[in-house]
Amino acid sequence: MTPYPEPWVVGCRPRRSATGSLASTVGGPLLAVACWLIVLSCGGADPRREALEPLPQPDLSRFEKAVQDQLQRRHGEVEEALESEAPAPVLAAAFGELGRHYDVYELLQEAEACYRNAHQLAPEEVRWTYHLAVVMQSTGRLPEAATLFRQVLEQQPENQPAQVRLGETLADDNRPQEARQALQRALAIDPDSALAHYFLGLLENGEGRAAQAVTHLQKALELQPQATIVHYALAQALRADGRLDEARLQAAQVGSEEVRLKDPLVQALGDLRAGAAAHIRRAAKAQVEGYYEAARQEYERAIAADPANPEAQQGLAAMLLELDDLEGARRHFQKALDLGAGNAAQVHFNLGALEILADRLEAGLLHYRQALEIDPQLTAVRFALAKAMADAGRYEDATAAYDEILQLEPQNIAARLNLGLALARQGKLAAAKGVQEEVLSRDLTDGERAEALSHLAALEASGGDLEAAEKLYRRAAAVSPQGAGAWFGLGNLLGRQGRYPEAIEAYMASLAIDPKNPRAWLGEVTARVLTEDWTSARQRLEVALQEIPDDNELAQTLARLLVTCPDPEIRDTARGLQLAQQVFERSRSMESAETVAMALAAEGRGAEAVDLQQQIVGQLEAAGQLDAAAAARAQLERYRRLAIR
């Protein structure tokens, strides 16, 4: 698993969180204390102290207890330093630290007052100047931010984050020449600063130097390929440079991931966060970035900090789901409900889907219904409910559910199409046909039209009008050539008529669009077997298994072909047995056991085949499946004869 990366600051303006610190600032306070002592010893009152802004007193009542305690502790430290008339650097550090804590909880006005005081008391301490500058920048006071960043750079000319931020600030303040100089200096410090390249690219773009813009933006992308936001500016630059095709390619890749700045001081603020909310925040970030294990751990920490937090429970459930722990997910979704989660309908929806995934249909339907009790307008839940019932063969219930959706959303084409299917499954062919014809009279996308035509074709086929069905399937394929469904239906129809070469062609067209449809592979292979084209049947099954390696039915079909094929060139009983055993291990189904028995017999291991087949017969009889048991018994007799021989 990819390790969870150290977070960077995204751009400059956006708020921040992360880890790290600037080692270069360590010497500052000690030196300043010494200076302060000299001032005091000379008996002069420090005017800096008199110009301080009042100590902020924000209302903390809405924060978690842990956060309140943390902020009050820091506040107390400042009060203590004020009361004890602590030396300026000490007081500056207390104000600065309080400022950092306010900053991380977005109490920016309070943070600003504290940073100002810290900066006033200890102007030599770069940290406070820098934090104050960042607050100025993020609140749009650009000239003041630029001045402060310049002060930082006077003391630390190699401070790359300050240089980049200065460049951005100047650019936003419509001072392009100064911005360009600042960014070029940033690149002189670190030629691999993606953000400096990015801002330079934007500047060049704005001033009509498209080729230069392209160079900088391409470099930014090269340094941070995940920064998909850059594609947008690059597309504009390429377009302006007359490279339209390349511009289109870039435009198609535009995303929202921003260019990041390595900014240790700002990133260190993130470590100050306390309480469950801090963990939830980190978890959410990890989740968005796809680090589910890290997100899970953060949610667990949030729950440890506040077990009654429904948001944390729900977040953990979602992560467990991503990590395939269905039971864990179910447990925590339930806890979120018990704790009064605000979006209970959504939680019930998730729980319903979970139960259905776990083959607990009734429990799943119950959750869906509970979601709908909370929000009757949630058509996505109604749709899931209807589909679950249709999948379970409860077509009447499904019909009623689709009807309810259509009462709420008469324009819902998907519900209408599925209603037609559900009616067809109940044998109500005329009604089903009426529904599909009604759908076709509406304003549809090509995909929707193709689907409706395909459904109508299937209905015609059920009614025995194969010619009409074929025409409809072909119309559907013409309307939406990228719709696999019409080709698949056509393949089935042609196969049913014994028109195997045409059926193979249709299945192949379907598979070219959707190679993950096992039924299309099976249809095509069946058609090839029926034309006794064993070689291509085997080849296509091998390709199918590469596409869908875990499909038991495809593997079993190949196993049976390998052990029963009349063509000795194709037959491979050893591999057939191996495949059959793999399928059996995975599925433990009666069919797969029969395939194993078949393979054993073909391999000449008649006694083992007899033994296994006898068990199969016994289980089928015990289950009351007498027809299947009779067929299995006939097979058993064949194996016995083989064993005797």
Partner: protein, 609 residues
Amino acid sequence: MLELPPSARRRWCHQVGALWWLSFLVACGGAAPPAEDEVAPATTSQIEVPQREIFSDQSAAAGLDFVHFNGMSGELYYSEHMGGGVALFDYDNDGDLDIYVTQGHLLGKGKSLEDATFPPAEPPPFLDRLYRNDLSLDAEGRPHLRFTDVTIESGLRVDGYSMGVAAGDIDNDGWPDLYVTEWNGTNRLLRNGGDGTFEDITERAGVGEMRWSVAAVFFDYDRDGWLDLYVGNYLDFSFAVHRECTNDIGLADYCGPVSFKSVADSLFRNRGDGTFEDVTARAGVTQEAAPVLGAVSGDFDGNGWLDLYLANDEEPNNLLLNQGPDAAGNVSFKDDARLSGAAMNHQGKAEAGMGVHAADFDNDGDEDLFVSHLDQETNTLYLNEGGGVFSDRTVESGLGAPSFDSTGFGTAFLDYDNDGWLDIFVANGAVQGLRDLMLAKDPHPMHQKNQLFHNLGNGRFEDLSAHAGAALQLSEVSRGAAVGDIDNDGDPDVVVHNNAGPLRLLINNVGQDQQWLGLRLVGATVDRDQLGAWVDLLAPKAMGRRVRSDSSYASAHDPRLLFGLGDSSGLAEVEVTWPDGRREGFADLPLGQYSTLRQGQGSAPRVGG
């Protein structure tokens, strides 16, 4: 199959500037605030301060007593802070602009009016209102405005939770009709009977959109002579999916739009027989669902066919370019925003688009775009570089910094001083509680001042808000804004819809001092305003304007055109490109008054045909 709750939240909106000092007064009870000029933006020090109020609020004097009831009771339902809108249209064809304004109602199960944070100013039922303009001239020939509430006698009974309104004559009978967008109900098409009454023909016309819509645009996209309808839908929000959100300092607050699913839009083609067909898919506008709040039509790529620009809330905007008819005669659109440069700001960041307007602010012959946004973003000015290619000129224009602390909604280009350069008005109001106001226990802590930006004619604007009069010092939760010459004196006035607040009528006091040309464009055989027509003014100055009622936020503008002419004199000459693509010239038009141009009565064009 499993849908996870959205985790992202809108950022905590904070306020700097004057309010920054307020927090210290509240917190410490201490020092006096700085003088106003200490906190005003530095740029305003160089502004030539007007001698009198540019706009003055005359709503009370004119009898506009509407107060919006948003039905809030502390639950922070997402929809309650998003309404509403206003339309300026001449429903009785008496030559002056009347006002239609959208209303809300009480929200929440089991709530009573006693629970309302802001009790309604009127007893139920809470209806959208129609005010008739009874404009007259006083003894000295000055306009005297008086509005009369004619809701009841007009037969209008729109009692849903209305959001926005569009105006256009859908049946070519010469009487402008209305389309009202709703939350938690069906949008309504209200046909103007021409006798002072309206009829709800929604069902018959087939435009009963049930999803939450805000923006609607009447435009003849297929050039068949009938106004079609684009409905911009927003989010899938209902009481059932209402959720509690907190801001970054832990205070209960409105959620952001990412907390709810977006819904797709609808395009309805006017069949010309009083009914519409839904051609959304066929016309290629079945783009991914996006939270549309602002919509405007215009010919952005100059191919002669009307396009659409959609401002989306925290998602990339759409530029639906009209491809014209295919071989079968079907007209379709193609979204080209990402390549055209109008999808996001110059950094590639999608912003929270609220209101939008399109006009030729730099008088170079094509339509530019202005989109209002959330605070901590900036409003964005997209300059049309020709052919539908845009560049973000926000920073260079000077419009960025002054909008950083405000959340813009209704907006319009308007030449308030008739100098021939289009200025910008923005109605502001936050969408989450402003920190200082929340701490001060303000019951509606999102109010902000509206803004006016003066076009300097060199690509730059200056913020005149602080000097535009008392009306722009009001701090309210403004949403819709409609622009039109309400007192017929030749300059643009503004009506502002305030959420949970009074309707404001901002009368322009300065534009009439300069010369102007007013035009109304009507069809050859019907007196329908020719929405979408483009007028090139050839003399005494050169500039172009489009006839429109769409744009802004949830609102409809005066469809007449005003050309500000400064100190010009003489007669005017124009060339018109009608919505069907034909072009005609009209000369000898008198200045200082409105003229009606009828299609087919002009001369052959001098410039192009």
